[in-house]
Amino acid sequence: MKIRVQGVARSFRVEGREAPALLPIDLDVAAREVICLLGPSGCGKSTLLNIVAGFLQPTAGRVLVDDAPVTGPGADRGVVFQEYVLFPWLTVQGNVEFGLVLKGLAAGERRDIARRYLELVGLGPHAEKYPVQLSGGMKQRVAIARALANSPSIILMDEPFGALDAQTREVLQEELSRIQRVEHKTILFVTHSIREAVYLADRVVVLTKAPGRIKDVFAIKLPEVRDRFATEFTRYESEITRVVKEEVAQVHQ
């Protein structure tokens, strides 16, 4: 197993009391698998992602990556954030080269790798621009190229397309799916869009309302290149919708 989440739980201190955010979670992710974490807002799906990334420590349990426990963030796990989080003082190229600079690669080599990934996300002509000059969709492409260029085996994505308009969102889902067919990463993808999850995932993990635990897991047995209007696709969509709705309804009670 590439990633093993073993009894991971997390609580936060709220007004002097420990409030659980995530109840013990067990989840095994195989190499090259795409897992979408789905659940109502505040259910702890981002918390789980942050624990796997090493940004947060679990209050119980542990995460193993390639059988070694996670103790902090590392270059083996690339992260793509909802708000892009590009380095505003670096050009597009500089952002994509960031991890390569840390690895001590020579300038020429860095440039070639960065160019390759910028081409992959369709941003070749924008390499010299600064983030402030880019649209949201372009910024997220840079963030994806930055994560990929560092060649992590795992990519963690925290609602990466959540801040984008519907059209851009679908285009980027299609690009991510195309890139994954080339790059074969292990991907943990947090979203609250069921369509997005069915479009991208090998397995969709549905969490309950807060404090989150795993409610249901759906293996999506659809072809690699997916058609959002296929009967099978919409069948998965409605099946998962039914399960998610139960949780959302409870949140509103």
Partner: protein
């Protein structure tokens, strides 16, 4: 806009001319007390010719540069340290809040007692005066660095030293520059006070000499030179800031 600004300046100069030339003709008060532009220009020309003005300017500037330089290095170093080390910050905060409201000039005699009438007392006084506002400004801008930028860098493999060098410093840079600019302005401000007391050269001394030898034109000339010097240095710093912060103002092409 530029036109309005220039017009306002011309109006001020014109009023000065009208009042002083008018007074010179009508002798409402002793004309020596209200030096005309001609008087000031004459003092200026004389002191340029015999080289005293250049000597005074250089003396003041060297003191400012040394005092400011020492304070800037300390403020950047300690500002970074305080912002990143919580306990140190907790200890420094009350000390600084206690010292800061004391007008720096109140301590000037102390510096003369400690360091004598030579260069050391002026340099130390400027360093003392400019350190606190710079330190506070720099620590605040380091504290404001977005934690998400640190997470993004850490997930690309950044270690502690990389984080400081490649994320904290560039992210805090705009705030650091502003703090340094404020500090430099303040240094030019207080050097005059320091040179009023026991100096044998410098623009403050030049002005005080104007008082001792009852030469108001020399006082006005010294003040004008200080004003010009201040705006010149400020313009240089603003230009440097613009250049260094291109990424904030880059326009979409």
């Amino acid at each position: 806009m530029k036109g309005v600004r220039a017009l306002a300046l011309v109006a001020v100069l014109l009023s000065w001319a009208v009042v002083t030339y008018g007074n010179a003709r009508l002798e409402v008060v002793n004309p020596v007390l209200l030096p005309t532009p001609t008087d000031v220009a004459k003092v200026f020309a004389d002191s340029v010719r015999d080289g005293t003005l250049v000597r005074h300017i250089l003396t003041s500037l060297v003191r400012v540069a040394e005092g400011f330089g020492i304070a800037a290095v300390l403020a950047v170093g300690l500002g970074l340290l305080a912002a990143m080390c919580g306990p140190l910050r907790l200890m420094l905060e009350p000390v600084i809040e206690f010292v800061r409201p004391i007008p720096p000039l109140a301590f000037l005699p102390m510096f003369l007692v400690w360091f004598g009438l030579g260069e050391a007392s002026k340099v130390a006084f400027i360093a003392y005066t400019t350190f606190f506002p710079m330190f506070v400004g720099i620590a605040a801008s380091v504290l404001r660095v977005d934690v998400m930028l640190l997470r993004a860098a850490a997930s690309l493999g950044a270690q502690r030293v990389d984080l400081i060098r490649r994320v904290v410093l560039p992210a805090a840079f705009p705030g650091i520059i502003v703090a340094l600019r404020v500090g430099f302005g303040l240094a030019l401000f207080v050097i005059v006070g320091a040179e009023f007391m026991g100096a044998d050269a410098g623009l403050g001394h030049l002005i005080m000499e104007g008082r001792t030898f009852f030469n108001p034109a020399q006082i006005v000339m010294g003040a004008l030179v200080l004003g010009l010097l201040g705006s010149l240095v400020n313009a240089l710093l603003v230009a440097a800031e613009r250049r260094a912060l291109r990424w904030r103002t880059a326009q979409s092409a």
